[in-house]
């Protein structure tokens, strides 16, 4: 730990590092996700296996096998019963978290880039890639939670093609059937999935591709990261930009820390020019910014390549980052993290 006016993480913040190859991912991580209880961490990467880990010690609990291509995205329901994943093999799969069995597979003409459960686990939304003459499509599926979960409807509940720039990330908001999306052009928008209508949009939310979108615990606001080196907090109802965090590197992921007023940002130089630079130049650190003051407070080093994805434990006790280098690094916050008040005592709402 180094840098910053109010360093609160010290060397005792012991990272648990997963070795690639032997028992873990061999390829760049694409998304990691804690379950609601926070005891499990799901990870997917450009290899076709989804892993699940114990978050307290980093031991691998199991894998979900069956995909035939890079797995781009993963999400778990709040009961930790179903896991949903989207892959480059053009499939959307529903898994049983406990048994590791694939319960249902939907097939599409193009790859699945993003999946997300809604709040009461009754629906999932998925984005499919714009490719080979197919438009970018957003589909919503009803999840039949009765029985063993294998009895799912093949047809989507809703299907629409967003007009203009293709969507890259999405999530359900609190309003029923309204999703928030981030687009390649930097646009952030609200869509009604029933009608496919764009309710609200902020064309200039970012000036580069939106790379990640994570909701606050109560889903009233979200944080987006972008290639334009900015991360922003938006109100999920009005799309008003509440906060902006300006860094000096393209960002791949942004996460909100519960309980403490921080946001975690990760990124680094794009993979294609990274080989020509040293780790020093690449800025492969997880950066901590003060959520309210928009000031950087600390960095955590460790990755050898850009950070692709960051997730924070729902209780805010640890965080994990997944890198282009194929490692997931899990850090437990030490006492000083909770005690430190880098800019004086404040009482900011979560």
């Amino acid at each position: 730990m180094q840098y910053g006016p109010g360093c609160f993480l010290n060397n005792e913040t012991a990272p648990v590092t997963y070795l690639p190859g032997k028992n873990g991912h061999e390829r760049p991580l694409t998304q990691i996700k804690f379950n609601t209880a926070g005891d499990l961490l799901f990870s997917c990467s450009k290899d076709p296996v989804i892993d699940v880990w114990y978050s307290h010690n980093g031991e691998r609990l199991g894998t979900y096998n069956g995909n035939n291509g890079a797995v781009w995205t993963v999400d778990v329901d709040s009961e930790s019963r179903f896991l949903v994943s989207g892959s480059a093999d053009n499939t959307l799969r529903l898994w049983s978290v406990a048994s590791g069995k694939c319960l249902y597979t939907w097939e599409f003409p193009t790859a699945v880039r993003r999946v997300a459960f809604n709040e009461d686990n009754s629906k999932i939304v998925c984005i499919t890639e714009q490719r080979m003459g197919y438009q970018c499509a957003i589909r919503v599926f009803e999840i039949n939670r009765e029985g063993d979960g294998t009895n799912q409807s093949e047809e989507p509940l809703y299907l629409f093609n967003p007009i203009g720039s293709k969507a890259t990330v999405c999530a359900f908001t609190l309003t029923p059937n309204v999703i928030i999306t981030g687009h390649e052009s930097g646009k952030v928008a609200l869509f009604n999935v029933e009608t496919g209508q764009e309710i609200e949009s902020n064309e200039r939310a970012h000036s580069g591709k939106v790379t990640d979108l994570q909701l606050s615990k109560d889903r009233t606001y979200c944080i987006t990261s972008s290639e334009d080196k900015l991360a922003r907090i938006h109100d999920t109802k009005t799309l008003m930009v509440i906060k902006t965090y300006t860094t000096e590197t393209p960002l791949n992921s942004a996460a909100l820390a519960p309980t403490q007023p921080y946001v975690l940002l990760g990124g680094g130089q794009p993979a294609d020019i990274v080989t020509r630079t040293s780790a020093r130049e690449g800025k492969f650190e997880t950066r901590f910014w003060h959520k309210v003051y928009e000031e950087e407070v600390g960095r955590v080093k460790g990755h050898f390549g850009p950070i692709n994805t960051i997730a924070v434990h729902p209780a805010g006790t640890c965080f994990a980052s997944g890198g282009e280098d194929g490692y997931i690094r899990l850090h437990h916050f030490d006492d000083s993290y909770f005690k430190a008040q880098p800019f004086g005592a404040i009482a900011a709402e979560d």
Partner: protein, 733 residues
């Protein structure tokens, strides 16, 4: 009909055909009729040679019937107006033969000028509009300096002082230019556009002057800001219809690359070509810039024609001084001696006192000097020559042997001259270095030699001082730069030992990577930097008089103390991938920058104080340029400066009070800002929560459910068996 020629109404013909395609050519030889055909044929040929073909029928030659001879002018009718214009441009002042020169005019012009109204109308006197003071920034009550940054397409000018006083001074909307440059005394800032150079200045940064040199790439101001030199890699072309006048390039300037301008009037003084006729194509090497070197008082400007001569031009006429160049066989390079503060005072006194005999008591100001060197040619040794100018008297000459290359370094007061001589051994396999140091203020210009075994890559005099620093290296990689290679260097400081009158080593700092020396403009402090390396980017801040409290009393003390003991490292810093290092004019701050012109990694700039403490650091995409605004020489006399130094303690007390007051202000402001931010955040959170969960009950139930779930904790009892130690004992009975 009894009409005269004048009465004929031509207006219908004029309207239809016009006379615009008619030219009157004067200065044609006066002939008799027998030679008419021959002459007309020759004239046609001359015109055709310039690209305008005419036929003998188009030429009309009026005759003086009484003498039977021609009148010395002719009319030529062209096919169209364009041809006429072309012929006008090409043939005006054309020397037809030894005695005759064509004077070409438009037919319509002659009529127009003949009918010109002769009455004089007095031009209206323009009302005097006071102009902004160009040095207004010096009157800043807080005594701040300015700097300019150029990033992406944006130029910003900032004030720099204490953190609370640093603010944006100006964000001009200048568009489409290559880069910006300050004039040497900070009066103007120049931008280089496609069309030419613009100067801006004054407190509102209004345009002050412009110089229409298309595609200008490099500029150089004269030391007193009176003149400007511009250079473009494209030879000057004056298109047809281009505006003409003293401020514009004329057709005579075509083909040249360098232009000299008067800054106040904007007039073009002269143009030069960088290519001389007898240059062999093989000799084409990189152009030196500045190509024209100014004497420190702006009186002369000189340029070298490699191997042949130095041409010195007088200002403002730009005529060759003494009507001839200094012919020096083999001359490679030269430098003017800078003017010291003392010289400048003397020169000012000289200018004030009348030039009659009464002024004998006043010390005459030192004459301008220049130094040049010639390599070894045909059994002649290489030679460094010190020359007085305008007297052209050779003041000192020094012969050198086995010379590969010489570099000339003047100390900024003109007290010392160092000639860095790269010498080769007899086998020409290895290179070593001699420093030939001329003490220019002393009688007969004594020369001291410092011999070094290594190659010296950088040399720098302490401004206003008697010390210099060198970067030397014996790294085998020297001379073959490659990616990732950082050359190991040694940095050494030398100082003049007054008793012995020679330069003695103060201290060597071994095995560094530093390759740039930056002395503070006030001397004493020096920064060693590693510039242009991809792996090292260290800055070292050194103080050479750490033990001496008052720099004013320095001279006497140094000899008593242990030699070199005052050298102290104040701090080190690191600015990743820095490309430029520059002191502010006061010597209090140092700016380092990483420009996107060189690379695209962490572009931006940082400002440090002289101890190496970071004041500010800005990482900005597409950052290009950082330049401090130079300051002119102080107006305080030596005595006033001494007074200031003496009363420093009293001044500093008031400054300390200011600082303390401000600091509390700043922190109060910051606390208030943060409180406001938190309040705003909380207010928004309350609002958005109320919007979503206004109905309360249903939502609360849900939340409650998840809460109770998380609170249910499983208790697991784990028994652990651990073998702490195992000892095998053999029991012998």
């Amino acid at each position: 009909m009894a009409t005269t020629v004048d009465d004929i109404d031509y207006s219908d013909i004029e309207a239809k055909y016009g006379f615009d395609n008619m030219l009157v050519v004067d200065g044609v030889p006066v002939i008799d009729k027998s030679k008419l055909e021959k002459l007309v044929a020759r004239i046609c040929k001359e015109f055709s040679r310039k690209g305008v073909s005419i036929k003998p029928e188009d030429v009309y030659m009026p005759w003086n019937d009484s003498t039977g001879k021609s009148q010395g002018f002719i009319f030529i009718e062209f096919k169209n107006v364009d041809d006429a214009n072309l012929a006008l441009a090409a043939m005006h002042n054309h020397p037809f033969d030894a005695k005759h020169q064509f004077k070409v005019n438009r037919f319509t012009d002659i009529e127009r000028y003949a009918n010109l109204d002769e009455t004089y109308i007095e031009p209206e006197t323009e009302e005097y509009a006071p102009r902004e003071h160009l040095r207004a920034w010096l009157a800043d009550p807080q005594g701040r300096d300015q700097y300019v940054t150029y990033r992406g397409e944006d130029v910003e000018i900032y004030w720099h002082g204490k953190p609370s006083q640093s603010e944006l001074a100006m964000k001009p909307d200048w568009k489409d230019f290559l880069y910006v440059a300050w004039s040497p005394l900070g009066t103007y800032i120049a931008t280089l556009h496609r069309q030419g150079v613009r100067l801006w200045g004054g407190s509102s940064w209004k345009p002050q002057q412009r110089f229409a040199h298309p595609l200008v790439k490099l500029i150089d101001f004269s030391p007193c800001e009176q003149y400007l030199v511009t250079w473009s890699n494209e030879a000057i072309v004056v298109p047809e219809g281009a505006p003409q006048g003293p401020q514009y390039l004329s057709p005579d300037d075509e083909g040249n690359n360098i232009a000299v301008w008067d800054i106040k009037s904007g007039d073009l003084l002269r143009t030069f070509s960088t290519v001389s006729e007898n240059d062999s194509p093989a000799a084409k090497k990189q152009m030196q810039w500045p190509a024209l070197k100014w004497s420190p008082d702006d009186k002369y400007v000189a340029r070298v024609t490699a191997g042949q001569m130095i041409s010195v031009h007088e200002l403002p006429s730009m005529y060759l001084h003494g009507k001839k160049s200094l012919k020096i066989e083999g001359v490679v390079d030269f430098e003017w001696c800078p003017q010291g503060d003392r010289d400048r005072e003397d020169a000012e006194k000289d200018a004030l006192t009348p030039t009659n005999g009464a002024a004998k008591t006043v010390k005459k100001a030192r004459e301008n000097m220049l130094v040049y060197w010639t390599p070894e040619v045909a059994n002649q040794p290489a030679r460094v020559t010190l020359l007085g100018f305008p007297s052209r008297a050779i003041l000192r000459q020094k012969n050198l042997f086995n010379v590969t290359e010489c570099k000339l370094y003047w100390q900024n007061q003109g007290d010392f001259l160092c000639v860095k001589v790269d010498r080769h051994t007899k086998t020409k396999k290895s290179i070593f270095c001699n420093l030939e140091i001329f003490r220019v203020r002393e009688k007969d210009y004594p020369v001291e030699v410092v011999e070094l075994k290594d190659t010296v890559t950088d040399f720098s005099w302490e401004p206003k001082g008697e010390r210099f620093a060198i970067v030397s290296s014996n790294d085998p990689n020297l001379g073959n730069p490659g990616p990732g290679i950082t050359i190991k260097t040694d940095v050494s400081f030398y100082q003049l030992e007054h008793g012995k009158n020679d330069f003695k080593l103060l201290r060597t700092l071994p095995s560094r990577t530093s390759n740039a020396i930056r002395w503070s403009p006030r001397g004493r402090h020096v920064v060693l930097a590693t510039v242009g390396s991809s792996s090292k980017s260290e800055l070292e801040f050194w103080d050479l008089d750490f033990n001496v409290e008052d720099a004013g009393r320095r001279e006497g003390q140094v000899s008593k103390e242990e030699w070199g003991s005052g050298i102290q490292l104040l701090g080190t810093a690191d600015h990743y991938a820095l490309t430029d290092v520059e002191w502010d004019p006061s010597g209090r701050y140092l700016a380092t920058s990483a420009s996107s012109w060189t690379h695209t990694l962490e572009n931006g700039y940082a400002i440090w104080d002289f101890r190496g403490q970071e004041i500010t650091k800005q990482i900005q995409d597409r950052f290009k340029q950082f330049i401090w605004r130079p300051r002119p020489r102080t107006l305080l006399t030596k005595d006033q400066q001494r007074q200031v130094r003496k009363n420093l303690r009293e001044y500093s007390r008031t400054f300390d009070e200011d600082d303390a007051a401000e600091e509390s202000n700043v922190s109060a402001e910051l606390v208030a800002l943060r409180k406001r931010l938190v309040d705003e955040w909380n207010a928004w959170r309350m609002r958005s929560k109320a919007e979503f969960f206004g109905d309360g009950a249903q939502r609360a139930g849900k939340e409650g459910k998840t809460h109770s779930e998380t609170e249910e904790k499983e208790e697991i009892e784990v028994w652990i068996d651990e073998v702490i130690d195992q000892v095998e004992e053999e029991v012998v009975e």
